[in-house]
């Protein structure tokens, strides 16, 4: 009995020492604390959130909600492009999931970054935690990290919309606020919002299960205007601070696209072979109809 008592005492002591050394944090209710609503910020760093998705991806509606939340948390500073590619975006021959939002450009991006499952996302095409692709619950933190970076460039993105010819004239202009090294491309893409077709779902907080119908697909990548990786801004290494580089593109919206829901997104990304390859320096968005 004496040995047992000593044993018990030693065990209690060991556990007590462990608990003291490695204190545990007990959180009591309320588990959430109210914070102030963020104020819109103008002319500052913006972030591109590319979400890889598909209408047969059951966890994607929750990811779509998270993307929307991140936009609300950072008003005007987060630009979302939804890339429908791969297995979960493939259309069925019949039934509910016949819509096809896949694009050649989206599929190329999907392949280039090795997307294996949905939902997943990229923030400014930058590696966080040594990888490009991030799970939904990591987006918020990494978006805020990207927003906190020093502003190096701004983009102005005037878009002229001719309703009779359905033609867009896009004149992006990039101003570099400080000297940057490397080679950069500007990429201009068209997105379309509120495309209505059924979406598989597994989370009741995001909608009905197993299918949400009607479902409005947001920020859907429709076309890359100047190629999937864009057009070069500088042939030589580096761009001096104060430099402004401009491009001009025209694009005719197909009849089936609703111009009221289309946007032009332009982003500048690094393209030379360095560890920061693909990383987005700045991004801007202009709605087609607002630009009239």
């Amino acid at each position: 009995m004496k040995i047992m008592r000593q044993l018990l005492q030693k065990t209690v002591l060991l556990v007590a020492i462990s608990a003291l050394i490695w204190a545990c944090d007990k959180v009591d209710e309320p588990y959430l604390s109210a914070t102030n609503n963020p104020q819109p910020v103008t002319n500052t760093q913006k972030v591109l959130l590319e979400e890889f998705t598909g209408h047969k991806c059951t966890n994607c509606p929750k990811a779509h909600l998270e993307a929307k939340n991140i936009q609300l948390l950072n008003p005007g500073r987060v630009i979302v492009v939804s890339i429908h590619a791969g297995f979960f975006a493939s259309p069925d021959g019949s039934g509910l999931f016949t819509a096809d939002y896949r694009t050649d450009e989206g599929t190329e991006i999907n392949t280039a970054f090795g997307v294996e499952s949905n939902p997943t996302g990229m923030i400014n095409r930058t590696k966080f935690n040594d990888k490009f692709l991030q799970g939904t619950d990591s987006w918020q933190g990494y978006v805020e990290s990207a927003l906190a970076k020093t502003l190096k460039a701004t983009i102005t993105l005037p878009v002229e919309w001719n309703s009779s010819t359905r033609s867009l004239t896009i004149n992006p202009s990039v101003k570099f606020l400080e000297e940057v090294s490397g080679k950069y491309n500007i990429c201009v893409v068209i997105t379309e919002d509120s495309l209505n077709s059924p979406q598989k779902n597994t989370d009741i907080s995001a909608g009905t299960v197993p299918t949400i119908d009607p479902y409005y697909h947001r920020h859907v990548l429709r076309k890359a205007v100047n190629g999937v990786w864009g057009e070069s801004l500088n042939s030589n290494d580096g761009i001096a601070g104060g430099t402004t580089l401009s491009k001009s593109y025209t694009f005719v919206l197909p009849d089936s696209w609703d111009e009221d829901h289309c946007s032009v997104v332009a982003y500048v990304s690094r393209m030379d072979e360095v560890s920061e390859k693909y990383s987005v320096l700045q991004v801007e968005e202009t709605h087609v109809v607002e630009s009239k």
């Binding site: 556990v15 490695w22 599929t107 990888k131 939904t136 619950d137 907080s205």
Partner: protein, 567 residues
């Protein structure tokens, strides 16, 4: 190379403090090791949906490792080199690379064992800490840090550790994963108390403590027009206590684990504590063995990164309570552990019918197993707040209540009988109920799969060196992909060669285009510790599960080469 030199210098410096002289380290040491190379070459196969587009130029994959171990008396050092160039299909692309994955140095006496570098460890049944490596899953959650084991008194074993977990090749940086600290004590009562040393009843008691420290970023939630911030704990502790009593053929083991509030991506950021109970009782005597098991798991996902949703960085392991099958059709619908909640029980009886009219000339071995897994009962914590709502306690759950939803059940009967010196047969029947929605991460989409599987496996030894084995399997189900039939014919030229042909035919698929043959032809050569095997054919898509941890295996067509060796 520079890193390796720094590593060796560091190791030498550390162990300079220990009573091991450098000369002794070199003289009289032994080096051992083992290797495995798995390579696949992929073909297009339109019937399987594999085209040049879907392959995206990936024609081959290579996964390989080599372990080197140096042992000299009380000192052991080792390293593990891994290559995934590129990873074989079905393995995470994050594995791509080639480097020293793990290294360690270890010094062990009767009193103390010290390990620095990467190590694998398990406390009790692993419910609050288990680090391990499973090659077939591409899984490795080894800890990198320092571990101390002490045997201060006879019958007392203490462990303490601190480290961070492997996350593919990603180097540890402040904040990119948590730090794991833990301590474990085990008491062999019969060794501690001399008067009990001869007792037929053996008692082992154990207790563990684990804590994760993770630097948190802020996490916010938009609810209506308001914005809230989660109160996130940085230190998340867990405790476990266990008891093992052995007497004669009886063996009772039980472990209870408790985890503090741990809001994470795995549990939708709820603040409920986690609990688990795992108990087994077994009894065996000559010719018969019985095992009973029961398990409850409630909110026990425990990862060293709060936002992690992949099958990596698990601090703990929740042991499965379902039969681990060997035959391929019986593994088509495998159980995968549900850390957010499951209630399970299992019973198994193994017995031998003695020689005689019923048992035959050599006796007959019979094995019967039944296991069932349900959800746990979850009740709303408050009217109007749905179960599992983020930023709340989540739910309440009566500890001993089974939920109404069946996740999995498995009944199996296997009979093994030797008919003559040259002929042996194993026949089996398996009936499974598989909740495809839950076990594959869907909701309300699929009906439960009810599958009956018949197996007949006959081996005939033609002479001392040559043997022929014929295996037939049938799977009947009205759900999922319908009925299957499969067969394997294997010829062995002992001790060096074997070859086999096999086919699995999904003749019952409702989609006539998917009524496919999954054919394969294999050959292998063994020379001492070295084995080379080549396989050509189709690979059926599905889940590969080991210990309830699963990896999705996509359909493939091609050649697979496997080489293993050791020295």
């Amino acid at each position: 190379m520079k890193k390796t030199i720094i590593l060796l210098l560091t190791l030498t410096s550390i162990f300079a403090y220990l009573p091991v002289r450098a000369q002794e380290l070199i003289q009289g040491g032994t080096v051992s090791g083992n290797f495995q190379i798995d390579g696949q070459y992929y073909n297009e196969d339109k019937a399987l949906g594999i085209t040049a587009d879907t392959m995206a130029g990936k024609r081959y994959g290579v996964n390989a490792f080599g372990n080197l171990l140096y042992t000299n008396g009380k000192f052991t050092a080792g390293l593990r080199f891994e290559t995934y160039l590129p990873p074989m299909t079905g393995y995470s692309t994050s594995l791509e690379g080639s480097n020293i994955a793990n290294w360690f140095a270890d010094y062990k006496t009767d009193f103390i064992q010290l390990t620095v570098g990467n190590f694998y460890e398990q406390f009790g049944s692993g419910m609050i800490l288990r680090s391990y490596e499973e090659w077939s899953l591409g899984y490795d959650n080894s800890l990198k840090g320092i571990r101390v084991k002490l045997n201060p008194f006879k019958g007392v074993a203490l462990k303490g550790l601190v480290g961070y977990q492997r996350s593919y090749w990603t180097p540890y940086e402040d904040g990119n994963r948590g730090i794991v600290r833990g301590a474990d004590a085990e008491f062999y009562i019969n060794e501690m108390i001399p008067s009990l040393s001869e007792s037929r009843t053996k008692v082992i008691l154990g207790g563990s403590f684990v804590s994760k420290y993770e630097k948190m970023t802020t996490k916010r939630l938009v609810r209506g027009d308001s914005i809230y911030e989660y109160k996130l704990p940085r230190n998340i502790a867990s405790f476990a206590g266990r008891l093992n009593v052995i007497r004669g053929g009886w063996n009772f083991m039980s472990e209870y684990a408790y985890k503090m509030n741990n809001p994470s991506a795995a549990n939708n950021f709820i603040y409920k504590e986690g609990q688990a109970l795992y108990s087994t009782l077994s009894w065996s005597t000559k010719g018969i063995g019985v095992m009973l098991g029961a398990k409850r798991v409630d909110n026990m996902s425990y990862k060293s990164r709060m936002n992690e949703t992949e099958s990596i960085l698990d601090i703990n392991f929740l042991p499965p309570l379902a039969k681990q099958h060997q035959y391929s059709f019986a593994t088509m619908y495998p159980f995968s552990t549900q850390p957010n909640g499951e209630m399970a029980y299992q019973a198994q009886i193994d017995f031998k019918i003695p020689k005689g009219n019923l048992g035959g000339k050599y006796g007959t071995q019979v094995s019967v197993n039944y296991s069932q897994v349900n959800n746990i009962k979850k009740e709303q914590i408050e009217e109007g707040i749905p179960v599992d709502s983020t930023g709340t306690l989540g739910y309440s759950s009566p500890f001993f209540s089974f939920g109404d939803e069946l996740y999995y059940s498995d009944f199996s009967l296997f009979i093994t009988r030797k008919f003559s010196k040259s002929t042996k047969a194993n026949v089996g029947y398996v009936y499974q109920q598989y909740n495809k929605d839950v076990l594959t991460g869907h909701n309300g989409e699929y009906p439960n799969v009810l599958a009956s599987i018949f197996i007949a496996d006959i081996t005939v030894r033609l002479n001392d060196k040559n043997a022929l084995r014929l295996e037939n399997q049938w799977l009947f189900t009205k759900q999922d992909k319908g009925n299957w039939v499969g067969g394997t014919l294997e010829y062995t030229f002992a001790p060096k060669w074997f070859m086999s042909v096999a086919d699995e035919y999904n003749y019952g698929n409702d989609d006539s285009d998917q009524q496919l043959h999954y054919y394969a032809i294999s050959a292998g050569y063994t020379d001492g510790p070295t084995r080379i095997a080549v396989n050509y054919g189709r690979q059926r898509e599905g889940l590969l599960c080991v210990g309830g941890v699963c990896r999705f295996v996509p359909a493939a067509n091609g050649i697979t080469i496997t080489i293993t060796s050791s020295f």
